[in-house]
Symmetry: C2
Subunit: 428 residues, 2 copies
């Protein structure tokens, strides 16, 4: 039996939860893995309160000191942000220490450099916690689908956005109220942009897509739309269409390249996506042989994310103890070719909601713009009982490629009667 | 790069699908794992048709010859049954060769002996394919929840039974018709007992429970009820209760011991269990830190099960190539203590369906039997429009421990007006 000593940088919710699991489940971990994990050092920019300091651990004021410390075998990075974590992970690997990180943003932006450095030092980077919290989706892609050809990966990757949408759905409240409540409940940050504008989901999707399909993919190449524009009236219209709304990250490998985006979808009420409620996440994999698989669970929160951090630590500790530490060949992050984004995505159906100041001829002019681009309207409904100075129309259209619908949306947005831009949802 | 040569014994659906994946995805596997997998020998009792023989492989008439062959590094067992596979796996391990098996029955019955033998030789047994087909649930429990304390594992573990139930549900057909169609579609065997009487689900649950909670567990200690007694009228009654019926294997660790069973459940229509349709499987894990997770996908079929076999082969091949082959410490199968079955399960709600020849006083006598055991009736309905010589009553009762409801059921079954035994469903 061997001791493996852990240093944690960024001792917030996830860092503390990881330390607590290591301490609380010490006997379990030792019995299962034959290794004794111990937190020996913690570091947090804003300081660590004495009651949060793990028993037997010391508080280090500087992350550089922690990385260099003789009594730290593995470095856990749960700090967030990218600049300092980038330096930190580099320094740890250069010091010959394996790393575990929960930082999706770091890996989406700098994964190529870091995995390449790790490979050159033959050291692993554990990053299960970076995507979908406690759901072990990265390990599943890396190990369990190693023999299959994956065709698609999509899912609900941001718990905060999903919480807001399902609150709007179940309680018929407006977006602003749902967001404020999510902030009050600690699910959303004071600046909620990362969650509600889709950037957090985009970073996770980038990691998933690279692992599933192999090759380089820049986050800036992933079209990303959030849920800021979704209103109670959209949830209401969705219900009329026996559907609801979810923020979905989707990557699909086609003959013509990768179709990838983060955007709100209109999903049927009987769909598995619709069953994902609250802060939960779900990831769907489609493979030639495995067919469709779904992985569901808590996508965030200290406990679930901490459990993922600890699962990585246990794997590394087992290998350390057996003298078999090695870089994992992380599919997708060591490839020098691009995944290749599809220039012309396949046709899908769309939902458009227009908010207008009523005047004569609106429907005719909108229908003309749509018909002009050979788009077929599937349904059109003007919401009743709304004030004339602020009317909503909902239009669903038959399958058409995104560039075409976007051109139509652009033309509609230019009309003088439009009070805000069209809300565009992909129909599942 | 190294070649790893595979011999397959039992060249039926799963064996052939495994060989096909190895050949069809050879480049993918090589790129991801750095190892070239090759099927060099196959063996099937009833012979192998030339068009099924993998390119470059020879057909061996005797499994003993295959196990001993110089050109076989890893032995895959996809034969089914227990006697011959037991000898086969023993012989392979004794010859120093790692094994991959899809045989749940073998491991549920002889897992202790085989994992102990594997440990003594420091050889792995891959068995992902033995539970829930393509869903990588065993790897998830072994690796991803290694740092958590699991409290419960339950799920839909038999695709055939689920297919029959969901056909009865969606098309309002009788059990016999759904079974015959499942047999015609190749989902059910000529002798369907293993699937519809719950024994296949029981073997899988036994493996899951041992891995999740640790300790010995005999399959014969798992109370097992199938779906043979479920009738169209039960699906109809379930719908009235906004529910449906699923065959569920459930193991829950409580202070008083393990509560474990395979039985049909009445599940709410909004429940995730109800969303599992057709031949799909789903496994739910509940852990202190991860919360509730669900893993969903194809539970059977050559492709999905073959993909699981190949994922095990790739893991073993990677380790072989790296000179790091070792027995995995398979939690639960190397423990000498029993899991400890709970003698008095906690109270749950139940659904009872009685089929009777109508006569005066039936409801009074049944209600008296139930009241006598301090069980509270939650709802009671006599199905209308049925012939008097064959009436159905459906009763749901408030939470009560299983031994108590079973005694009531025993007393009701003894009544002279009962045409068949009570159908008892656990209410989710």
């Amino acid at each position: 039996m061997r001791r493996v000593r852990v240093g944690i940088v960024g001792f917030g919710t996830v860092g503390r939860a990881s330390a607590e699991i290591i301490s609380k489940h010490a006997d379990l971990i030792e019995r299962r893995s034959g290794v004794k994990l111990e937190v020996t050092a913690v570091c947090r920019r804003s300081g660590v309160r004495p009651e949060h300091t793990p028993a037997g651990a010391r508080v280090v004021s500087n992350w550089k000191e922690l990385v260099q410390a003789e009594d730290v075998d593995v470095v856990v990075e749960t700090a967030g942000g990218t600049d300092q974590p980038l330096q930190l992970v580099r320094a740890a690997l250069e010091k010959g220490k394996p790393v575990v990180t929960a930082n999706k943003n770091l890996l989406a932006e700098h994964g190529d450099e870091l995995f390449s450095l790790a490979a050159s030092r033959n050291l692993p980077i554990g990053f299960e916690a970076s995507v979908a919290g406690g759901i072990p989706i990265l390990r599943v892609i890396h190990e369990s689908t190693a023999g299959d050809r994956l065709r698609a990966v999509h899912g609900i990757l941001n718990g905060t956005a999903n919480y807001i949408l399902t609150q709007m759905e179940s309680r018929a409240i407006e977006f602003d109220q749902a967001l404020q409540e999510a902030q009050a409940a600690g699910y959303a940050e004071a600046d909620p942009s990362l969650d509600i504008d889709g950037f957090d989901a985009r970073d996770k999707l980038c990691i998933l897509a690279r692992m599933a399909f192999g090759g380089r993919l820049k986050v800036s190449d992933i079209p990303t739309y959030g849920i800021r524009q979704v209103r109670a009236i959209d949830i209401h219209s969705a219900h009329r269409l026996d559907s609801t709304i979810r923020l979905v990250g989707s990557a699909e490998q086609t003959e013509a390249g990768l179709e990838v985006s983060v955007r709100p979808w209109l999903v049927g009420c009987r769909s598995m996506l619709a069953k994902v409620e609250g802060v939960n996440n779900a990831v769907f994999l489609l493979g030639d042989k495995i067919g469709m698989q779904m992985f569901y669970g808590r996508g965030a929160g200290g406990d679930a994310t901490g459990a993922a951090v600890v699962s990585d630590l246990i794997e590394i500790a087992r290998d350390l103890a057996a003298g078999q530490l090695s870089a994992k060949k992380v599919s997708g992050f060591l490839d020098s070719h691009d995944v290749g984004i599809c220039p012309k995505p396949r046709p899908v159906s769309w939902y458009l909601r227009l908010t207008v100041r009523d005047q004569r001829g609106i429907v005719a002019r909108v229908a003309e713009v749509i018909a002009h681009r050979d788009i077929n309207i599937d349904s059109l409904e003007q919401e009743p009982h709304l004030p004339k100075e602020r009317l909503s129309f909902v239009i669903t259209v038959e399958p058409v490629s995104e560039p075409i619908i976007q051109r139509a949306v652009g033309a509609i947005n230019a009309f003088e009667f439009m009070l805000e831009p069209v809300l565009l949802l992909r129909v599942e």
